[in-house]
Symmetry: C2
Subunit: 384 residues, 2 copies
C-alpha cells in the first residue's frame, strides 16, 4: 500500500529513459548525453530527434527529419483566420493552448496505442508536425495581436533562425540565433514536472496529440510552473542598475522574499543550464564590445550579491536567471518568454507522449476519502 504524499512528491509515476538529473552533482543528460556536450556540439533539430528516437541520428536520418521540420512550418490560412478572432490582449500561452487545440480539428488524428510499426511512424510524423508548428504559431501571434498579417515561414533557415525571422521580420542576427538555439536545447526536456506529467495523464487516454500538447501548455502556463524568467526580467527592471543590486538582495532576504531565478528544487548545485547560459552571456557581451542591455550588468551584479549570501545554502542561479534577458536582446517581449519555453519543451513532451504510448496504461490513481459518511437527502424546506 502506497502512502499518500501531496503533489506525489517522491512518488514514481513512470519509467523513462529520456532524461536524467543528478541534483547532487548538478548533471542533466538527454538520452545519456550531458547537456553541456549537446549545447556545445548539437543543435535543436538534432537534439529533438535524439529525444524522440533515443539515439543520435545518421547524416541521412537527420537531413530527412530537418527537411520535414522545415516543410511543416506553414499552417493553413484557416488557422490564421482563427487566430485573428482572438482578443489582441490574449496572453501568448492561452493563445498557444487554444491554437494548438484547434489543430486537432484541422488535422484529425487517431492513436491506436498498439505500438505497431505503423503507429510508431504515425507518432513520429505527428511529433514533427507539432514541433514545427509551435514556433510558427508563437511568431504569428506577435504580428496578429498587433493587427498585422503574420510573416510566412522560410525553409532555408534553421528552427531558431526561422523563429527569429518570423518574429521580427528581419534577417536574424547569427549570434542571437545561435543563442536561441542553445536556449531551445536547454529547455527541451527536464524529466517529469507538472506539464510533462500532464502529457502522460492526458496521453494515456489516447487523446489526439494536439489535445495532449494543448493540455501540457495549460500546465506550463501556471505561474507556479513556467513564467519565472519573466519575473526575473521584471525584477531586474525594478532594480534599475548594477550598483543597486546589493541593497536590493539584502532587503529581499531580510524580508524573507524570493529572489527570482535563484534556486531549483532539483539541483543542490548551480543549475547546469544556468552555467551554460552565463557563459553565453559573457561571450555575447564581449562580441558586442560591451554595448548590451544594461539589464545584463544588473543581472551579473545580482548573481554576485546572491553568491556571497546564498551559495553556502546551495542556492544558485537557475536556467531562468539569464534566459529572459537574452530573449529581450532578441526583441522578444516578456509575455512571450513562456511560449518560447513551450516551443522547446514540445520536443520533450512528445518524446514522453511516445514513451507513454509504447507501454500504455490509463492513469487512474486513488483518493483518500475524507468526506461525510452516507447520509440522507434533506428536502429544501427542511434545511437550516
Amino acid at each position: 500500500m502506497n502512502e499518500y504524499l501531496p503533489g506525489l512528491a517522491g512518488v514514481p509515476a513512470t519509467q523513462s529513459n529520456i532524461s536524467d538529473i543528478d541534483g547532487e552533482k548538478g548533471l542533466l543528460s538527454y538520452r545519456g548525453y550531458p547537456i553541456e556536450q549537446l549545447t556545445a556540439n548539437s543543435n535543436f533539430e538534432e537534439t529533438t530527434l535524439l529525444l524522440l528516437d533515443g539515439c543520435l541520428p545518421t547524416t541521412e536520418v537527420l537531413a530527412d527529419f530537418d527537411n520535414k521540420l522545415r516543410r511543416n512550418r506553414r499552417v493553413q490560412y484557416h488557422i490564421t483566420d482563427l487566430m485573428k478572432t482572438f482578443p489582441p490582449s490574449g496572453h501568448p500561452m492561452e493563445m498557444l493552448q487554444t491554437a494548438v487545440s484547434s489543430l486537432a480539428m484541422f488535422y484529425p488524428s487517431t492513436v491506436s496505442g498498439d505500438a505497431s510499426a505503423d503507429d510508431l511512424e504515425y507518432i513520429h510524423n505527428m511529433s514533427v508536425k507539432i514541433i514545427a508548428r509551435m514556433g510558427t504559431i508563437v511568431a504569428m501571434w506577435q504580428h496578429i495581436r498587433h493587427g498585422y498579417d503574420p510573416i510566412e515561414p522560410r525553409t532555408d533557415l534553421t528552427y531558431a533562425e526561422n523563429f527569429l525571422y518570423m518574429f521580427n521580420g528581419v534577417e536574424p542576427d547569427p549570434l542571437l540565433a545561435k543563442i536561441l538555439d542553445v536556449c531551445l536545447i536547454l529547455h527541451a526536456e527536464h524529466t517529469i514536472n507538472a506539464s510533462t506529467f500532464s502529457v502522460l495523464v492526458n496521453g494515456s487516454t489516447l487523446a489526439s496529440p494536439y489535445s495532449v500538447i494543448s493540455a501540457a501548455i495549460a500546465a506550463l502556463s501556471g505561474p507556479l510552473h513556467g513564467g519565472a524568467n519573466q519575473k526575473v526580467l521584471e525584477m531586474l527592471e525594478d532594480i534599475g542598475s548594477p550598483d543597486k543590486a546589493d541593497a536590493y538582495v539584502e532587503e529581499r532576504l531580510a524580508k524573507k522574499e524570493v529572489i527570482w531565478g535563484m534556486g531549483h528544487r532539483e539541483y543542490k548545485t548551480k543549475d547546469p543550464r544556468a552555467t551554460i547560459l552565463e557563459k553565453m552571456v559573457d561571450e555575447f557581451i564581449e562580441a558586442r564590445g560591451g554595448a548590451v542591455n544594461p539589464l545584463l550588468e544588473t543581472a551579473k551584479a545580482v548573481e554576485k550579491a546572491c553568491d556571497e549570501r546564498l551559495s553556502h545554502k546551495g542556492v544558485y542561479p537557475n536556467v531562468d536567471f539569464y534566459s529572459g534577458i537574452l530573449y529581450t536582446e532578441m526583441g522578444i517581449p516578456a509575455d512571450q518568454f513562456t511560449a518560447i519555453f513551450a516551443i522547446a519543451r514540445s520536443a520533450g513532451w512528445l518524446a514522453h507522449w511516445r514513451e507513454q504510448l509504447d507501454d500504455n496504461r490509463i492513469f487512474r490513481p486513488t483518493q483518500v476519502y475524507t468526506g461525510k459518511p452516507p447520509r440522507d437527502y434533506v428536502p429544501l424546506d427542511q434545511r437550516k
Copy 2:
C-alpha cells in the same frame, strides 16, 4: 519509498471529500448523499452547488446560484465568431477543448491559491461561469457546424431544458428534459479518473480555470476514457433488432471481444448509475406507449443476453449502456455524447479544482530512470 505502479493504479494522489465509491456494494455518493437520493429528489443545479460547496443549499443560496447560472449562459459574439472559423468536421470534444481554452483570453483570470475569502468567492464565480457556458458552447456548435447561427440561450428554463432548447431550437419535451437532468446528475462526478486527475495536475500550477478545464476535456476526449456510450449506440445499430442480440453476444464472447457498456473497473456489482437509467428507460417506454426507438428494445435484449452469461463474473451494464440511446431520443447525434458528459462533469472538475487550490502543492512525481548512463557525444561524421 513508494513502489512504481503503472498508471498509478491504487496509488493515492489526493485527499478528497467530494465523492465516494463503494465498488463492492455498488454505492456512489456525492458529499455523502447517495446518487439514488439525488436523482430522485435533486436537480443538476442543486447537485452542482452541493458538489462545489459541500452542503445542500438553503432556498436563498440555491436561488442565487441558479440565477447566476442562468445569467451566465450567454457568450460574447466574439466567441461565436471564433467558433465559426472552426472546420465543420471538427469533433465536438476538440471543439469544446478549443472554445473553453479561448475563454481564458476573453475572460482573463488569476488565481492566487491562498484560499482567502476573496479567492474563494472568485473561485466560486469562475466555476459558475464555466459550468453555465459549457452547455451553451456545445449547443452552439450543433448549429454552427451546419452553417447556421446559434440559438440564444433563455433564462426562463432549467439547465437541462435550456440545453435541449438551444440544441434543437424547439420547446423541450418535459420528460426528456427530466431524463437529461438525471443524466447530468449521474455524470457530474466520479472520484479521481484521468480527466479529474488532469484537473488536479494542471490546477496545481495555478493556471487559469479555463485552461484547466480545457485540459480536462482533452483527457475525456481520449477513447480509453470518454466515448463509450457512442460505442454502445454503434453496437446496437450494428445488431439491428432485439432477436439478434443473443447471437451477437454469444459470438463476441466466443471471440473474447468487448461488449460495449458492460462492466466497470470500479464496480463489482451493477453500476448504480445504470440501475437508475434503466428505470428511467422503462418509465420512458411506458410514457410513450412503447412508441420508442427500436434500439431501446435491442438494448434490453443485449442486457438480458449478457446477464445470463456474465453476471456470475460480476460484469453488469455500466452508466454508458443506456445513456446514449436516451440522448438519441433527445435528438442528439452520437458524436456529441462525450461533450454532454463533459458538460455534466465540469461540476465535479471544478469542485476538485477548488479542493486542490484549498491546500495546493504542485504535482511533481518522480520517474524510474531506465535509460543510458552518461555517455559522450559522437560527432555526425563518426556515427554508424
